[in-house]
């Protein structure tokens, strides 16, 4: 059996602008889109894509499928799918995007606790439930493609991924920086009534990252 899919091909070395190419991917019951890409790659179309673990943890295989960001490893293969790179980030080749801008915009804010000598023993502490949930972020960057206003080339404009990272730090019991202020520097106020961002693996971004940063609630 075959599944007919369209895959975005873009070869910057040929001065090409990129286009969708139709392929007949081998299909077996239970196949994922990632499997189709692997099959195509083996069958003489060296289409470029990232992947790592084949089961939703590495976050590397996020692409847009029929216009919505998805993990290729968790999306069933079907006839008629269109597979494109994440629109929010610069396209490098085929389905591969440049992930760097998503991280570099955060560097001035150091959204992590300082690394010290290891403590002698594990301190008694309470990990807020928000931190537990937010640390499940697999950094797939798919959420950026659900944000109507994120711009990777504007250092004063964060998106859901950046706010998740700031919120991870905000809810870390040992963090001491003013993360809500940093979120304001990344224009979080524009999130106000927009509830469009979605996490591919179900982290409640608005409730656990954006609202707490907007409200400036300090961690316990």
């Amino acid at each position: 059996m075959k599944a007919s899919i369209k895959v975005w091909r873009f070869d910057p070395d040929n001065g090409d602008k990129g286009n969708l190419i139709q392929y007949q991917a081998p299909y077996q019951e239970g196949d994922t889109v990632l499997q189709a890409l692997l099959d195509l790659y083996e069958q003489e179309y060296p289409v470029c894509f990232r992947f790592g673990c084949r089961f939703k943890k590495c976050g590397l295989c996020a692409v847009e499928i029929n216009g919505r960001p998805r993990l290729a490893c968790r999306t069933p293969l079907k006839d008629g799918l269109t597979i494109r790179p994440l629109r929010a980030l610069p396209n490098i080749r085929d389905l591969v995007v440049d992930r760097d801008p998503a991280f570099s915009v955060l560097l001035p804010y150091q959204p992590w606790p300082a690394i010290g000598e290891p403590p002698e023993r594990l301190p008694r502490l309470t990990e807020p439930v928000e931190h537990q949930r937010l640390m499940a972020c697999n950094e797939c960057l798919g959420c950026l493609s659900t944000c109507p206003t994120y711009r990777h080339d504007d250092p004063s404009c964060g998106g859901p991924f950046q706010f998740v990272k700031l919120a991870q730090a905000h809810f870390h019991p040992l963090d001491r920086m003013d993360r809500p202020a940093q979120a304001r520097a990344l224009s979080i106020e524009r999130c106000g009534s927009c509830l469009k961002c979605r996490c591919l693996i179900g982290i409640p971004i608005v409730k656990m990252a954006i609202q707490p940063l907007l409200e400036g609630a300090h961690q316990p």
């Binding site: 239970g30 196949d31 994922t32 470029c48 301190p123 640390m135 499940a136 697999n138």
Partner: protein
């Protein structure tokens, strides 16, 4: 050719790599960290996240932990390394939390009591866990790499260590723009994990675990040990093909009443919880090898009897709370998740128990070269207990970075040989647009097939020799590669380089497995089915001499002899 200089270069950016880089930078070194993937996307990130500590219950202490590792590793660990590991194991979680991680706490905020788990082969509860499993470690590692003040070189393939009598740098291929970089270094730390991907799709490891570190070390003249010991987990997904090999569990996740049933309906194992991974994987593998399989080619892990006992139902509750049932739910469905129907399971390649031979300071047998984490060998032996890999990664990662930085500080500047670097670079250059008959991916798939069929869970003299012959044919095929042109993200050039390293690693594994004429831990020989302590309480070492691999066996040193 672009050349850059550092005090310490760390190859690999999972748990061991980022930890080594952070500790080297903290010690004042100029550090570069090289990663084939984006940082933090190694096997640490995709681990279930069990993290062994010690002394969480009053009866437990480092000495007891030492005994468990020796028993689990069936006597083949290096006792000094195992002793260091168990003595310091308490600090492993502290290293991770010092970098920003948070382990699961109880209601009072302590790491004790019900939040501590117990994997197969441990006599005491030692397993710390994390609410978001390894993913939270991966995110923390990514943060820590940024926070450590190190230079991050992402999506580059280190393909050759440089230097004659000591390692003084390396060469790396950049996926982003198809160049070769020459990187000078006082010391190099290999922290690039194991060889699980040599068995794809029968592995739960990430795509980047192609055994590069073993091949790099061999080529540099360093000695490897225990390469015949690849740990197969007993339980992974058999179908659909997209998910073949994905982790389903280990012995402790079978519940007190779980049983293994072969394709003929015969119960072949019960009471698996206290057993080691290899003890159970062997039974599964032998049944499959004998053809007693389910229609999907696995055997049946019947977890349903657990629902009939209070202890069994409690086991389900605690597994469900830690997310250990996610894979079963998403791949096999609701009934499988609820233990209302048996699971189809087969072994999967999980961990390279052997690796680069190191001393107590993580130094390899070649000056200037260090190794930490899965790429190193010696702590475990013939098998590994659950949760100990992550502890090792942070403990030895931290130590190796510190030591590598101290040594680099004592050296003058290093310079890789430019003539050799140019030669290697033109060899890579010649790959672009080559119009031969074999695509690298096709040869890689052939290698993976023969690894699984002949160097996998069950082995024979004949099969291992056939594997070595197939490696020769694949190597010959690699003389005639077909590679696309183009600089940007040329994955085929990267695969050509990986293929060379996979061949070297596969060969070291097969040769070591051929040498060991017994069955022990993760190494199962159909033609030598028993453990043979009289002949084989030995470590097998492998080293490259000229073009040949030289194998030797040496008695496991006693602790007394070492101290």
């Amino acid at each position: 050719m672009e050349t850059r200089s550092y005090d310490v270069i760390v190859v690999g950016a999972g748990g061991a790599g980022v930890t080594a880089a952070a500790s080297a930078a903290r010690a004042g070194a100029r550090v570069a960290i090289l990663s084939k993937e984006p940082v933090g996307c190694g096997n640490t990130r995709i681990a279930y996240g069990g993290f062994a500590g010690v002394g969480m219950v009053p009866e437990d202490n480092p000495e007891e932990f030492f005994r468990d590792i020796v028993a689990g590793g069936e006597g083949l660990g290096n006792p000094q390394l195992t002793r260091d590991f168990t003595k310091d194991a308490r600090k492993g979680p502290c290293v991770a939390e010092g970098m920003g991680h948070i382990f699961r706490r109880d209601q009072e905020g302590d790491v004790k009591g019900p939040v501590i788990g117990r994997a197969g082969g441990h006599r005491f509860h030692r397993g710390l866990s994390s609410p978001a499993q390894g993913v939270s470690l991966g995110g923390m590692l990514h943060n820590a790499a940024f926070g450590a003040g190190v230079e991050i070189l992402e999506e580059v393939v280190a393909f050759r260590l440089m230097g004659q009598d000591r390692v003084n740098g390396l060469l790396a291929y950049t996926l982003r723009d198809g160049r070769v970089l020459a990187l000078n270094a006082g010391t190099v730390v290999l922290a690039c994990g194991g060889a699980g991907w040599l068995f794809y799709p029968h592995t739960d490891c990430v795509r980047s675990s192609t055994g590069d570190g073993f091949a790099l070390a061999l080529e540099a003249g360093a000695e490897l040990m225990g390469m015949e010991f690849l740990q197969f987990l007993p339980f992974s997904v058999t179908h659909p093909p997209s998910y073949t090999g994905i982790f389903l569990g280990e012995p402790s996740s079978t519940g007190p009443n779980g049983r293994l049933v072969n394709g003929k309906g015969e119960t072949v194992m019960t009471n698996m919880m206290p057993k080691t991974r290899s003890q159970v994987a062997r039974v599964v593998a032998l049944e499959i090898n004998a053809g007693n399989t389910t229609p999907h080619g696995g055997i049946s892990l019947d977890v349903t009897p657990n629902l009939e006992t209070p202890q069994g139902r409690k086991a389900w509750e605690s597994m469900n709370a830690t997310g250990l049932l996610d894979q079963a739910r998403l791949i096999y469905g609701e009934r499988a998740y609820r233990w209302e129907e048996p699971w189809d399971v087969a072994p999967t390649a999980h961990f390279s128990a052997g690796g680069v031979r190191i001393d107590r300071d993580c130094r390899s047998t070649i000056p200037g070269l260090y190794a930490a984490g899965e790429v190193s060998g010696g702590v475990h032996g013939a098998d590994r207990l659950g949760g100990t890999a992550l502890t090792e990664v942070f403990l030895f990662g931290w130590k190796s970075g510190k030591r590598a930085a101290a040594e680099a500080a004592s050296l003058g500047s290093s310079q890789v040989d430019s003539r050799e670097a140019e030669e290697q670079a033109s060899r890579v250059e010649a790959l672009f647009g080559r119009k031969g008959g074999n695509r690298p991916i096709a040869l890689i798939r052939r290698l993976q097939k023969v690894m699984w069929d002949k160097v996998g869970v069950v082995r024979t003299d004949e099969g291992l020799r056939q594997a070595l012959q197939e490696f020769d044919r694949i190597r010959d095929g690699a003389q005639d590669l077909q590679v696309r042109s183009g600089r940007t993200f040329n994955t085929e050039v990267a695969e050509a380089l990986e293929l060379e390293m996979m061949l070297a690693t596969g060969r070291a594994m097969a040769k070591s497995a051929l040498e060991r004429q017994e069955s022990r831990g993760g190494h199962v020989r159909l033609d030598f089915p028993d453990r043979d302590d009289a002949r084989w309480l030995k470590n097998i070492f492998v080293r490259k001499e000229g073009d040949k691999l030289r194998i030797r066996a040496e008695a496991v040193p006693s602790l007394e002899a070492l101290s």
